[in-house]
């Protein structure tokens, strides 16, 4: 298993690709200029073309074409990346009418899942031992679409579905929603952690989500 869902990894790989390219450009540029244009003995000023004198504003050093170039080219890249990032919005923030609705109620420091009338095959809650503590185990079925209706009874929490790479705060007095359809590749159990700081046992506010075939 791997943390993060498919959408995350697709985007992440693309971003990594561009990050590496930008980083290579910057590093090559940096090393070339800092070595090529260095003072040979570290002291002598070999090229004092701008004549720095205290209290005197030096010669201007600019080139509008270059500046425009590295304004426009990154801008195009940004627009492209924004466009790519916009695509999955339908997916991660969708409202699927036919999804199975599961209630999630967070409290300090426990998760409470409510399967409602759903079949035990589709949604079932039991207990599991996590490092010596009894924690809820949520069993879901791969290929089914789920909608988590989440709220909190005291302070803000956030369930982090590690394997799927999604999270959303549970806010008291408000219903927030998370939507996901686990695929057959995601069969197995993974830990669910709280990712909004909520007090003393925040670090131990866990649950286990199991996806079965």
């Amino acid at each position: 298993m791997e943390a993060g869902g498919e959408i995350f990894h697709d985007l992440f790989d693309l971003w990594n690709f561009w990050a590496v390219i930008v980083m290579i450009i910057v590093c090559v540029w940096l090393f070339h200029h800092s070595l090529r244009y260095r003072s040979s003995d570290g002291k002598t000023i070999e090229n004092d073309s701008d004549h720095f004198t205290p209290g005197v504003f030096p010669k201007e050093n600019d080139d509008l074409r270059m500046e425009l170039a590295w304004t426009i080219v990154p801008f195009i890249l940004i627009v492209y990346l924004t466009f790519v990032a916009w695509g999955p919005l339908d997916e991660v923030w969708s409202a699927d009418e036919n999804a199975h609705e599961i209630g999630v109620t967070a409290s300090q420091w426990n998760w409470n899942f409510d399967c409602g009338d759903l079949d035990a095959d589709i949604c079932e809650v039991s207990n599991i031992d996590v490092e010596g503590q009894t924690r809820p185990l949520l069993r879901l079925k791969a290929g089914e679409s789920y909608m988590f209706n989440m709220t909190s009874v005291d302070v803000t929490h956030a369930p982090f579905f590690l394997d799927w790479g999604i999270k959303e705060d549970t806010v008291p007095g408000l219903i927030t929603r998370l939507h996901y359809t686990p695929s057959v590749d995601e069969i197995g159990s993974s830990l669910l952690m709280c990712t909004e700081y909520c007090g003393k046992d925040h670090g131990y506010m866990t649950a286990v989500v199991e996806v079965h075939a």
């Binding site: 260095r38 205290p54 996590v130 003393k200």
Partner: protein, 775 residues
């Protein structure tokens, strides 16, 4: 010494000290203090008396694991038995650290409490005459499977009048059996001792500096005026020094917090810190580093350099400047009061509602909020002061587009700061009132909206991030340009990029709240705007790189830090681009990827920039050069260990390690969590963190030693052009002669030609040069 008492200022100091002494006891007892009795759960009454002798018999000399022993508990002395008809004679409470207690079969005189301790029966009048009417009891104890145990026995000798009154006496006995574990210092003890050590060292340094300044006058009569001069100074250079020293001190304090909780995180399931301590420590780490370390250090640089650079004799409002500084230690006093009482703020530096107003948050959070309010006041005052200075006190000839870039960066930073910080201040006041008089701004039951706090906080918090990073940009511009002997490339686009960041900074803050339940439209809008921030930042990075072109780069320590900054800040900037993509942020939010990102920006950006600034301006400030060899060593150790600390955090974040958690879970057969390698990475981070901390000691040593023994510095040691290099090192007071202010000259023919549309608009607004205004 007493002759100095006549001076009114000394009376003032003594009054303040007296007040501190008066305050101190109430400060330490701030949380609901736990007395020794309650500590181990005994409901004893009366007073502790030596006359009562508790006895605990039946403990073996050599402990056999898992064996059951019968313990005899009894006591002698006290009022018990004085009245032969008394109904009750006494009671006991036995608490044991390991193993388990149980009553002897059929014995109804002893009961076991839910926490595993044993007491007599018959409390509160039930079964009076069984457990209560005794002076001795028996209980069975099953020894643990391994190791020894500690016993705490309380006995209560009562006079039998049935009233819990002062006429009764109690006493305590501690016993232990078997091998005892090695005493472990708690994180808080380590922290407190380190702080005491730091204060001692700093105090020692102050005395030493005073002594070295004038060895002949090492007497109280000289020391008091010297000290009072520092306490009352309004000179921008001295206030700057105070700012810088306090910032540097708190950098150390914040670093200590980090080191201590890095020990906790070195291995999974560690218990070096309790969860309460851990929560307080990461809260205080964030608060200290941003508000008490980074901001004062930046303010220190700004204080020192801005008036020198723009050719002013001082700041516009010198006393306000001193007030802005002194609010910092005053606020630190409030913020740190909680943590030493064990009830420090445990709310995270963001202090999210409704946790911060819930009863589960520590009482120290109230003081944390109060202290933050003072810091808001400080920042507002400093902001007004600097804005006024920039707008009104630039040297003749220095237009907006001739201001050195460091000054420009401070200008944009203070503008952003004092526009954004009122939102935070109002949020804090709402929280303070919620926590004291009971308003309901964040009380969900009364319709409170927790997201309002997030909005107010991030409306300030995001610009704040730029507020701390922009000055570092300014330092890098100065350092790279001077080191390469080239004017900074594209001065105008640098300024426009700064201004662009300044405006964009206000409309992007929603990206901190993509998973928070914020209005979905706003999430979408801020996703678009956040992406744009990359453009001006990119312009700046490329301009810096191009600045070196055709130059003659001289490698000094400050140049090394600047080049290091370019690498680490670019990395930090790029990792920031992962967050505005919502689908990615849903996974990365609140993980160590975020931690890695903002430490690459804060440490690799701000701290590296400021280190560069220290090496660059130290000769100007002290008149002595820093040691270059130590400087290079500092850079090498610091840069490498820094990357070892924060680079692996990216990986941990992608693997899903959440931040702000007391521990982390490794994958088991039952469930998938972090891979096993995460533990190794964490261990490596902890070790590297100690190296990084140690590298800073090199800087401290260098600063102290060079101040006394360093080479004398010339006026313009690096060959910079801006106006601070016109003055002597260290500069005189006032910094520039107010009657003969420097006039900015121009290397090239300065073209005053057509001011353009915008320029004409500005001129239309201004008071005509020849017009009116003669009074």
């Amino acid at each position: 010494m007493f002759s100095t008492l006549k001076k009114p200022q000394n009376i003032g100091i003594i009054a303040i000290l007296l007040l501190a002494v008066v305050m101190a006891p109430s400060v330490t007892s701030y949380p609901h203090g736990a007395s020794g009795v309650q500590d181990s759960g005994c409901a004893c009454h009366g007073s502790q008396a030596d006359g009562v002798t508790p006895v605990l018999d039946g403990l073996p000399n050599e402990l056999t694991p898992s064996m059951t022993y019968t313990l005899n508990i009894s006591f002698t002395g006290g009022p018990s038995g004085e009245d032969p008809n008394a109904a009750a004679l006494g009671g006991f409470h036995l608490w044991v650290s390991e193993g388990s207690l149980s009553p002897i079969d059929g014995d109804d005189k002893v009961k076991i409490n839910p926490d595993g301790s044993a007491t007599h029966n018959g409390i509160d009048g039930e079964d009076v005459g069984t457990g209560n009417d005794q002076t001795s009891w028996q209980v069975e104890w099953t020894a643990p499977a391994e190791g020894g145990a500690k016993f705490t026995l309380h006995v209560n000798s009562v006079n039998g009048d049935g009233i819990a009154s002062d006429l009764d006496d109690w006493n305590r006995l501690n016993a232990e059996v078997g091998p005892q574990p090695v005493e472990q210092a708690s994180g808080l003890t380590v922290f407190a001792s380190s702080i005491l050590l730091m204060i001692t060292i700093v105090g020692g340094c102050v005395v030493w500096v005073f002594y070295r300044e004038n060895p002949d006058s090492f007497s109280w009569d000289y020391f008091v005026p010297w000290l009072s001069d520092w306490l009352t100074t309004t000179d921008h250079k001295k206030v700057g020094t105070l700012y810088f020293l306090s910032g540097f001190f708190f950098l150390g304090v914040g670093g200590l917090f980090a080191l201590i909780f890095r020990i906790q995180l070195a291995t999974p399931g560690n218990d070096f810190l309790t969860q309460d301590e851990y929560n307080q420590f990461f809260t205080m780490h964030g608060t200290t580093m941003i508000f008490l370390a980074a901001m004062p250090m930046i303010a220190g640089f700004a204080n020192w350099i801005v008036p020198l650079q723009i050719g002013a004799h001082d700041l516009a409002l010198p006393r306000m400047n001193a007030l802005a500084f002194w609010l910092n230690p005053a606020a630190a006093l409030l913020i740190f009061t909680g943590i030493f009482s064990g009830q420090g703020a445990d709310v995270g530096w963001t202090g999210y509602a409704p946790y911060i107003v819930s009863h589960t948050a520590h009482s120290g959070a109230t003081l944390w909020v109060a202290g933050q309010i003072l810091l808001v006041a400080s920042s507002t005052i400093a902001g007004i002061n600097f804005m006024t200075t920039f707008c009104t006190m630039r040297a003749p000839g220095m237009g907006w587009m001739q201001m050195p870039l460091f000054s420009w960066s401070i200008l944009v930073a203070t503008l952003m700061l004092f526009i954004s910080i009122p939102a935070f201040g109002i949020g804090l006041i709402q929280v303070l009132l919620d926590r004291t008089i009971g308003t309901v701004f964040y009380e969900v039951a009364a319709g409170g909206d927790p997201l309002l706090w997030s909005h107010l906080f991030w409306y300030f918090g995001h610009p704040e991030v730029y507020v701390v990073v922009l000055p570092a940009f300014g330092v890098i511009s100065e350092v790279l340009s001077t080191s390469a002997r080239r004017t900074v490339f594209g001065y105008k686009s640098m300024v426009f990029a700064l201004a662009g960041i300044g405006v964009l900074g206000f409309i992007v803050y929603g990206h901190h709240m993509f998973t928070s339940g914020m209005s979905p439209v706003l999430r979408f809008v801020t996703m678009l705007t956040t992406m744009l921030v990359a453009v001006p930042t990119g312009i700046k990075i490329f301009n810096w790189l191009q600045t070196m072109h055709g130059g003659s780069l001289v490698y000094r320590t400050h140049t090394l830090w600047a080049l290091g900054f370019l690498v680490t800040f670019t990395l930090g900037g790029i990792s920031g681009m992962y967050f505005p993509a919502v689908a990615m942020d849903l996974h990365l939010h609140e993980t160590y990827f975020v931690v890695a990102h903002f430490h690459y920006v804060f440490v690799g950006g701000i701290i590296f920039g400021l280190y560069s600034g220290i090496y660059y301006w130290y000769p100007k400030a002290t008149g002595r050069m820093l040691n270059e060899k130590l400087g290079v060593m500092h850079f090498m150790v610091g840069f490498i260990s820094y990357n070892l600390v924060f680079w692996p955090m990216h990986r941990l974040g992608i693997q899903g390690m959440p931040r702000r958690q007391h521990t982390y879970f490794i994958t088991t057969d039952q469930y998938f969590a972090l891979p096993a390698e995460a533990a190794d990475w964490n261990m490596m981070i902890t070790i590297a963190a100690f190296f990084f901390a140690a590298s800073n000691l090199i800087l401290v040593y260098n600063i102290v030693v060079s101040a006394l023994r360093g080479q004398k510095a010339p006026n313009d040691p690096w060959g910079g052009w801006s106006m601070e290099w016109l003055t002597t090192s260290p500069p005189p007071t006032p910094s520039h002669d107010p009657h003969n202010l420097p006039v900015l000259q121009f290397e090239e023919e300065h073209d005053d030609g057509d001011p353009g549309l915008f320029g004409r608009w500005i001129q239309w607004m201004m008071i005509a040069e020849d017009g009116g205004e003669e009074e």
